[in-house]
């Protein structure tokens, strides 16, 4: 799960991390009010969407830039009016862009230096690790590519946690002055405590800035949370913004289905994450393009299968559907019945290829054969993939 910049900053402040003062606004009037409360003539208005590259983005109405500096509450209101309700397209949003429902009105900080500082979970050491660089304000992937020697890595012991001396060492390695040491170490420690307390898989401050006066501030922050741990963080679950998510994925998650939308035209319904990925791969191998990843899990019910079908056929790009089930615990006859019911319920607009294997496979195949539905059956995974690719091409 991701959250907005203004939410990330509010979260960080709870853990003692210094950020520029600011407030989110949903209307131009709120934006003006927020700017007045800040009581400064150094203001910045930032569009709030879950994607990077906002500053260089363009709105669908032609207005350029999702981040603007201004000098007065009235200007802040006018800028907010140009952004709110409008679609912002950046290099990370794709051509469809994202609608801006909130803007952040903040005090604009002067920047003397920009640092990158992140904590993430390292699989190799099975613990948290700090990744930091003196090259802040740009994407870390770019730094890793162009000047990998400028990336610092500091392991954190999984049980002992982040130590004060590690903070001081990192501050020195990142070029902080002696007078800034305490403030920098405090920010690092606050970020680590946020990371652990909120079950983050990544907590990134970019840029972390030093002002000409020597203040150390988190200017922008991004978090990824471990979805498996959300059950113990109701306060974080409330920060979810479903308007930022693919509506197909939102609908799927309501029914306990694991769905990720892609750009192709062959929909797939599979049991098991590994087999679902492998099914996408084999579609591609035979020249097709998957429209989605969908894992119905090990114990899907007929009702879930029906809901899954509804989501698949709601995608106008879909030209054919492949069902690939290896029944283990899940019985093929149960799945077959779910498919039959679903096809009757949703009035299948495109060809359907079904490959069943495993527990009660004969009973499952018999049900489908006797249903009289126009289902293309396949004997194995290779056969199924070739048939669905052919069906999608035929349907074009």
């Amino acid at each position: 799960m991701n959250i907005h910049e203004y939410q990330a900053k509010e979260l960080l402040q709870k853990f003692g991390v210094a950020t520029p003062r600011g407030k989110a606004a949903s209307t131009p009037a709120e934006a003006e009010q927020a700017a007045r409360e800040l009581g400064t003539d150094n203001l910045v208005v930032k569009a709030q969407i879950h994607a990077g590259g906002r500053g260089k983005g363009t709105f669908a109405n032609g207005f350029k830039g999702g981040v603007h500096l201004c000098k007065s509450p009235v200007e802040a209101r006018d800028l907010a009016a140009k952004m709110l309700g409008q679609t912002l397209v950046t290099h990370q949003t794709g051509p469809a862009g994202r609608v801006v429902n909130k803007v952040l009105i903040a005090e604009s900080a002067e920047i003397a230096r920009e640092i990158y500082f992140a904590i993430l979970l390292d699989r190799a050491t099975a613990g948290p690790i700090v990744v930091a660089s003196t090259e802040g304000g740009v994407e870390i992937e770019t730094v890793a590519e162009k000047s990998p020697e400028k990336i610092l890595r500091e392991k954190i012991h999984p049980l002992a946690g982040f130590q004060a001396h590690q903070g001081r060492k990192l501050a020195k390695q990142l070029g902080f002055e002696t007078s800034q040491l305490k403030a920098a170490a405090k920010l690092f420690d606050g970020l680590y405590r946020t990371f652990m307390a909120c079950d983050c898989s990544m907590a990134e401050v970019n840029p972390l800035i030093v002002t000409p006066q020597g203040e150390v501030l988190a200017l922008d922050a991004k978090f990824n949370f471990d979805d498996n741990a959300l059950y113990r963080h109701p306060e974080l679950a409330g920060l979810r913004d479903i308007a930022e998510e693919d509506p197909r994925e939102v609908e799927a998650s309501k029914h306990g289905l694991n769905y990720i939308g892609l750009d192709g035209n062959i929909a797939c319904l599979v049991n098991g994450a590994g087999l679902a990925m492998a099914t996408m791969d084999i579609i591609k191998f035979y020249g097709g393009s998957p429209a989605n990843f969908l894992d119905v899990g090990g114990g899907a019910t007929e009702e879930q299968v029906t809901e899954a079908f509804k989501i698949l056929v709601s995608d106008a790009k879909v030209k054919a559907i492949l069902v690939n089930i290896f029944g283990g615990i899940m019985k093929c006859d149960v799945i077959a019945q779910g498919i039959i019911d679903a096809v009757k319920a949703v009035k299948l607009p495109v060809p359907l290829v079904v490959r069943l294997e495993g527990t009660n496979v004969e009973a499952g195949k018999k049900l489908i054969a006797e249903s009289g539905l126009p289902v293309i059956t396949a004997d194995d995974l290779g056969d199924a993939a070739q048939k669905v690719v052919a069906a999608a091409q035929g349907a074009k």
């Binding site: 979970l121 992937e141 498996n228 590994g274 492998a278 791969d281 290779g382």
Partner: protein, 293 residues
């Protein structure tokens, strides 16, 4: 002709009175697995299906029954504690089927298991089976056949796919291990490869990996230097978009690392036969064994 589990395995099922734990305990018993105990806190003293004594703690189960392997069906919120309970009781092999355990919990489990004798398989895995002898987990027993191919995988149903391809072509399996799809887990591909390499009754292996992390690359490097047995592999996720978690929490390409292309290259460089599609995992191994690939 197996690794880790066989006819002598004495299994304790943690969470035996739950619906999943009970269902799969029965399935394992029907397959012939020697289930000697169950554990559910608060239900000690009961009998499961009139045959298996239930204890409040793994410690008691170990003392009373000498169980040496545990399988965990405890819900995610209590599963990390369940693993550590089994380790604390001295159980030699702990297999955690539970999916959805917070990764920070697994980080703490892994750190606390350092230096302990117990091994962990999983979490978020189908389990382990030595065909014809002992099934521990949720895999369908009948698709397997006793034989000499070792199977190691991060995915459940993709393992069944490989096993079924082998069995359909007349090739049995020595042991099949699902190591699980989480970013922090117990036994790695490499740990399993080493055990199969030392097992005189395993003559070849299928290694099934997926995007994310670098466990497949590490196994490949070791195989290149140390393994003389025929090895075939498949990596799932070549078409997965970067930065998205593909069902398994561990299946994510981040910062250009953990891609299918990178893994396939490392496997090929180690002399491993890599299946082009998931439909040809068994055929790729058979061709290699017959010296054709």
């Amino acid at each position: 002709m197996s690794i880790l589990v066989d006819k002598n395995t004495r299994l304790v099922v943690q969470g035996i009175t739950g619906s999943a734990g009970g269902f799969h305990a029965r399935q394992c018993m029907e397959y012939g697995t020697n289930v000697v105990a169950g554990v559910t806190p608060g239900k000690g003293g009961q009998m499961f299906d009139g045959k298996v004594p239930v204890f409040d703690t793994v410690w008691e189960a170990r003392q009373e029954t000498g169980c040496n392997v545990s399988v965990i069906f405890v819900p995610a919120a209590g599963a990390a504690d369940g693993i550590l309970e089994a380790v604390d009781a001295g159980v030699e092999l702990v297999i955690c089927i539970t999916e959805g355990i917070p990764v920070i919990d697994m980080m703490r489990v892994k750190a606390q298991m350092a230096g302990k004798k117990s091994r962990l398989i999983g979490p978020n895995c189908p389990g382990i089976i030595t065909p014809g002898a002992c099934k521990i987990g949720i895999m369908p027993g009948y698709i397997h056949k006793p034989g000499k191919v070792g199977v190691i995988s991060r995915s459940g149903t993709l393992t069944y796919e490989a096993v079924w391809q082998l069995t359909s072509r007349g090739y049995g399996q020595s042991t099949c291990i699902g190591i699980g799809g989480d970013p922090i887990n117990g036994m790695s591909h490499l740990d399993a490869v080493k055990l199969f390499n030392d097992d005189p009754d395993t003559d070849s292996m299928i290694l099934i990996g997926e995007i994310g992390g670098s466990a497949e690359e590490e196994a490949a490097e070791w195989i290149k230097a140390n393994c003389k047995k025929a090895v075939a592999a498949f990596i799932a996720g070549a078409t997965a978009p970067p930065g998205r978690r593909m069902g398994h929490a561990g299946a994510i390409v981040s910062g250009g690392k953990g891609t299918a292309a990178g893994k396939i290259e490392a496997l090929k460089a180690a002399g491993i036969a890599v299946a082009e599609t998931p439909a040809t995992m068994a055929d790729t191994l058979i061709s290699r064994m017959e010296g054709k690939a």
